[in-house]
Symmetry: C2
């Protein structure tokens, strides 16, 4: 269900009108784009004498943040910077007469510390003014200053002579207060350093909620001292100790990131009941689930002992996690165990509870009261919504902006994740176009204010510590911009231009999204000669949705070291090729623009086959990718044929069209390698153009170009 | 001094006679090569039904080791393996009539647990027999079994149809008992995960001593609860807590690796005396040293309070580190503070201590007795050697095999590091040729037995967590082979062939040596288009010895993100090119062999210049690398000119030789980028050949080839 809804909402949004180019004073490399940014002439040199001083409030968190920023700046410019006492007094040995430029280069002025445990209400605003001689960063809180430091780092540019920051005035604050990344540690456990580097990545793009999905059917990942069998039997020994959780919470808080833990109930509960089968709605024994999917084990909402257990458990967790919100899951409970349990059926009858939805509402109410007792507010997936639920509950929507709008109309607050499911392998542009506030629901200002923001969701059925960064980054930076920047920032091309820069910069935090896949290819190939495999992997993407599980079934214990794991969502090569093809077709009926580059590209793909097969022929793990080489070659030949027909203005011969369309159809079929050709729509566009456009011979260019526009629609994958 | 000696010993060993090709039954990819390995016909398929059973002794350490090995195997073959109870009984549901191949594929038979804290005497031997249907691994101890599992993983090969292990009999045990990696955490602190992945790398190539250099002038890295100011003032907050040290010790012990901590005294002591200036031989205050080099701060060996401090400190460390050895450093004490301290001079006079060497011997004796009291044996650099030192002290030699031979003749045991200084950026072949047992010292069997082994030394003046793996790997695998394998295993070409395979396999442990540099280049370039930079970086190496510090001075706080950091020791491109040139010249006077590939290669280098300069022109951090593009182009043109002259049998025109030799000389000069052209000797060989060989016109081929052989010597860098 959840999956289907995701599909629909994404398909709907794929046909969102092409975004207009936002008027920008100057191309910049900022992501997210600040609320207001005005460039001026002049620049501030960033060299070895660059120094920072703090004016007004100062504390350890700010100093640590400055230190981290300076280390990153040093790494970029390759120079050691002066570290000095945090003061903005001009250097006394130089004397005041030498002018203000001899003081610190950057003065940071904070009004106060802000919250040590960041909350929904933390003030993240800042202003930044960079002029020829000096930069001033002002913020009401330390976290605001840290957000501003990230902007400052993003402003640093270089030419041959050195690094500099262009003169600029920035006034910035986030559009939404809740800007999260759901991080699923249950399906595949992720080590501490993976979480830390991703928290650094989040801070770099100004995300502020680490939604930590800690329990699910496939593993219970947080230590409970009260109930040691939760991890003792439900985690394969892979869990975070409470000390480690505290370390993550502190690491996040240092960066102004909240940690909202999720304990998924009453469904998704297998790992709870492995150690405590008495909590379940059917007798055990249970085993940790190894498959992806939705499973039956569900807590029994009718027994007091269950609530006593939850009271003690959530009491323990409430003391561990300082955030005011706790996420109780609540999704995808199909109630099968409830239907089959006579005692539960009797309970429902006795209390007049009509169906499972109402029974879950009863459970949610009880659980919300337990959380309230432990001074926590409740958050849950939208299934938990019920009329008698208190309105301080936050509804987490996986259905879509319309559904979220319904929730806020009922008085709830809400956070959107529908459309931000980064585990589904859609391109960044799809997510970027998703707008949390439904346009057509006539929300009042008050209602709109209850839309708190959104969360990208990194469900981890198919990610390992080696691959997870590549599924989160760089696409999540585009989502972070949607959450932070004004709604008017919506130029997809410019987003991609900035995303490429951002992606490389994110590498300085140790994120592995740009570098992991060559290592994987080398290991698959058993050597360093992987050029041909790089060509192949650059034109494919993992299949969308959860089709990977159908085409290439794996369990939670399977290795994630296959060709599909080296493939990345949002192929850059395919996007570049699509732009080339679009330009070529728009040049109808002349068909010369980009022709050479398209030809060169297609010829490379056509000719890659023997070299790819030489590698796949030596390595059994690559055998599933072997047919791709021939398919790529066939696709490239189809494209080359189409190109020739169009450029030379001749209709294709006889059966050409039929044959080539059959090849395209074949290449579009599900494959055991669970990848798909990201270049397919562009090749299809060329082939259909070659078949159809010659019919327009003799007509004016405008007619041709009109027809070209419709082609993009026709060529879309079914 | 130490540096100079290193240089001399390495230069001497560079002219070791070219190694003969060891007779091998079959090319294998094992590293280190086992003591005995005999391949047979047939093979054992490794697929999804591969399973392991343990016979005889079993324990948690063995099971964890098997689990790690199976995870790696799964990752390679891309399949999930069966996990079952550890028994070798045939699967009961299948019944015994279906034959033995339905039992476990691999049976591991251990006699006993072996030492839980690995010692110098741990038995690491094992035997492995792989036949068509089954593999049997036998070992007296669990650690022996783990060593055998690494061999098993290295035996796995693939063709298109699947993975397999060739039928083979292996009888294996190490040549030396002490096979270490010195890991300097002082100059640059390294996080826990960096250490862990390197311990995994060590285990993969059967190294067994992690020599942890924990204190030096530039930082005190281990928590002392008794003396908190050691890290409190001497570490910049970068140190290992005792819990973390225990975690590393346990992680290492799981892999049969000893952890020998080094606390460097009485010199290299700055970080000790920052917090405790009263220990020093001159009044403070002191600050943590930021420069590389040798510094004055030295403990005062004449005051009882110093020994009381050391007694308490080493007592605390003795409880923390379970290994029977502790390394007390003892190197490079220049005694300047001693010379200037009248109280110390008076002490020496009073006791008849004639010089600083004797004073240090006094200190060493006192310290050795303290260690003895805490049940530890002493190890130290060879400066500590003195006649009245007990013979259970282990001498750690940085001077060379001859010096080590002297030590064992005096009755000490010894470990060799001279020649294994991997921080000096020499190629693996240099280290590989170093033999711990001096050939010409007529050591008795007993004396030879006191040569315990060796240690590669990763001094960390110029390595960050990002670059350190690339300085350790893959070269340390070649050194590991020198320590483990029989002396007769000495074929350099075959070593390099296996090293390339090993290097890629080491990546599965998370080591970053093969992947970090592209990330660094991307960040320097500010984008993903780094092909031209890759070409440039592939033909250079960091300068040898400690010349980097002269050519490109940096402190311990400087960023290590420059072009030299992306350059790696032991350029593969240069080695390949050298082999091509050698083949070409050996074909004298015909000069056709490899000609085309050399031409193609040189043309690529010649033409790379504009593309490299387009990138360096946009990025200030790359400006230091900018001149390299022109130099590379000039070198390539010189090579092409030489190639043409030789292949076309004509003497170069007029001043050609002079001009080209001047270009070579220019290219050989120290550069601010602190890299050197690794291809220079090969180009020089070509140019000298073009100048000199035409003189032989008319002479028989044999004369030409004789002259070619001398060329290799002439062309060597001065």
């Amino acid at each position: 269900m959840k999956i289907l809804f995701q599909a629909i909402s994404i398909l709907i949004l794929m046909i969102w009108p092409a975004s207009r180019a936002a008027a920008q004073e100057r191309r910049h490399n900022l992501m997210p784009t600040p609320a207001e940014v005005h460039f001026q002439s002049g620049k501030l040199a960033v060299g070895a004498t660059f120094s920072v001083a703090v004016k007004g409030h100062n504390d350890r968190r700010l100093e640590a943040g400055i230190d981290r920023a300076m280390r990153r700046l040093e790494g970029r410019i390759g120079m050691e910077l002066r570290r000095g006492p945090a003061t903005d007094a001009p250097s006394p040995t130089l004397g005041p007469t030498l002018g203000p430029t001899l003081g610190p280069t950057l003065v940071i002025e904070c009004r106060e510390a802000g919250e040590s445990v960041p909350s929904l209400d933390q003030d993240e605003s800042y202003s930044l003014e960079v002029s020829d001689g000096r930069a001033a960063l002002k913020a009401p809180t330390v976290i605001g200053a840290l957000r501003g430091l990230e902007t400052l780092l993003q402003l640093v540019e270089s030419d041959r002579d050195g690094y500099y920051i262009p003169s600029v005035k920035v006034e910035d604050k986030p559009r939404f207060r809740w800007r999260g990344l759901l991080f699923d540690s249950s399906r595949h456990f992720q080590p501490m350093e993976v979480i830390k580097r991703n928290l650094d990545g989040m801070a770099a793009v100004k995300l502020n909620v680490f939604h930590w999905h800690l329990t699910d059917d496939q593993g219970f990942r947080i230590e409970s001292k009260k109930y040691p069998k939760l991890t003792g039997m439900g985690s394969d020994g892979l869990f975070y100790t409470q000390d480690q959780a505290r370390e993550i919470i502190a690491y996040a808080a240092e960066r102004g990131i909240r940690v909202v833990p999720e304990f998924d109930l009453p469904g998704h509960a297998t790992s709870w009941v492995v150690g405590y089968p008495e909590l379940a709605s059917a007798p055990g024994p249970y085993q940790v689930e190894r498959q992806p999917g939705v499973f039956d084990p569900t807590l029994d909402p009718t027994r007091e002992e269950v609530y006593q257990f939850l009271d003690a458990f959530f009491g323990e967790m409430a003391a561990l996690f300082p955030d005011e919100y706790m996420h109780i899951g609540g999704d995808e409970n199909e109630g099968k165990q409830w239907d089959r349990n006579p005692q539960i059926q009797a309970f429902m009858k006795e209390r007049g509870i009509k169906n499972n939805h109402s029974l879950q509402a009863y459970f949610t109410m009880r659980l919300a009261r337990i959380l309230e007792k432990h001074k926590k507010k409740t958050m849950g997936w939208e299934e938990i919504m019920a009329n008698d639920l208190p309105r301080d509950v936050v509804i987490h929507s996986w259905r879509g902006p319309e559904s979220l709008a319904e929730a806020v109309k009922k008085g709830f607050s809400g956070v959107l994740s529908a459309g931000y499911y980064i585990d589904l392998s859609y391109p960044a542009s799809n997510h970027y176009r998703i707008e949390p506030v439904a346009a057509d629901k006539n929300l009042s200002r008050q209602e709109e204010a209850r839309i708190l923001g959104g969360e990208a969701t990194m469900w981890s059925e198919y990610v390992s510590p080696e691959t997870i960064d590549s599924r989160i980054w760089p696409r999540t930076a585009a989502i972070a911009e949607r959450f932070w920047s004004p709604r008017s920032v919506d130029d997809v091309d410019d987003m991609y231009r900035r995303l490429a820069v951002t992606s490389v910069r994110l590498e300085e935090l140790g994120l592995t999204h740009e570098k992991y896949f060559r290592s994987l290819l080398r290991r698959m190939a058993g050597g360093k000669e992987i050029g041909p495999l790089e060509t192949l992997v650059s034109v494919v993407e993992p299949v969308k949705q959860y089709n990977r599980g159908q085409q290439r079934p794996t369990t939670m214990l399977s290795p994630l070291t296959g060709f599909v794991d080296a493939a990345r969502p949002d192929s850059e090569a395919a996007r570049h090729f699509a732009a080339l093809v679009a330009g070529f077709l728009a040049d109808a009926p002349r068909f010369q623009t980009n022709r050479e580059e398209i030809e060169r590209t297609l010829a490379k793909w056509r000719d890659a086959r023997p070299a790819i097969e030489a590698i796949t022929g030596r390595s059994a793990i690559l055998r599933e990718a072997e047919p791709l080489a021939a398919e790529l070659s066939d696709l490239a030949q189809a494209g080359l044929g189409a190109l020739a027909c169009l450029a030379e203005s001749k209709a294709p011969d006889g059966q050409w069209g039929e044959v080539k369309m059959a090849i395209l159809q074949q290449a579009a079929k599900p494959k055991p390698s669970a990848v798909e050709f990201a270049i397919l729509p562009s090749v299809r566009q060329l082939v259909i153009a070659a078949i159809e456009l010659p019919q327009l011979r003799g007509q004016p260019p405008l007619e041709w170009q009109k027809r070209v526009k419709t082609l993009a629609e026709v060529a879309r994958p079914q």
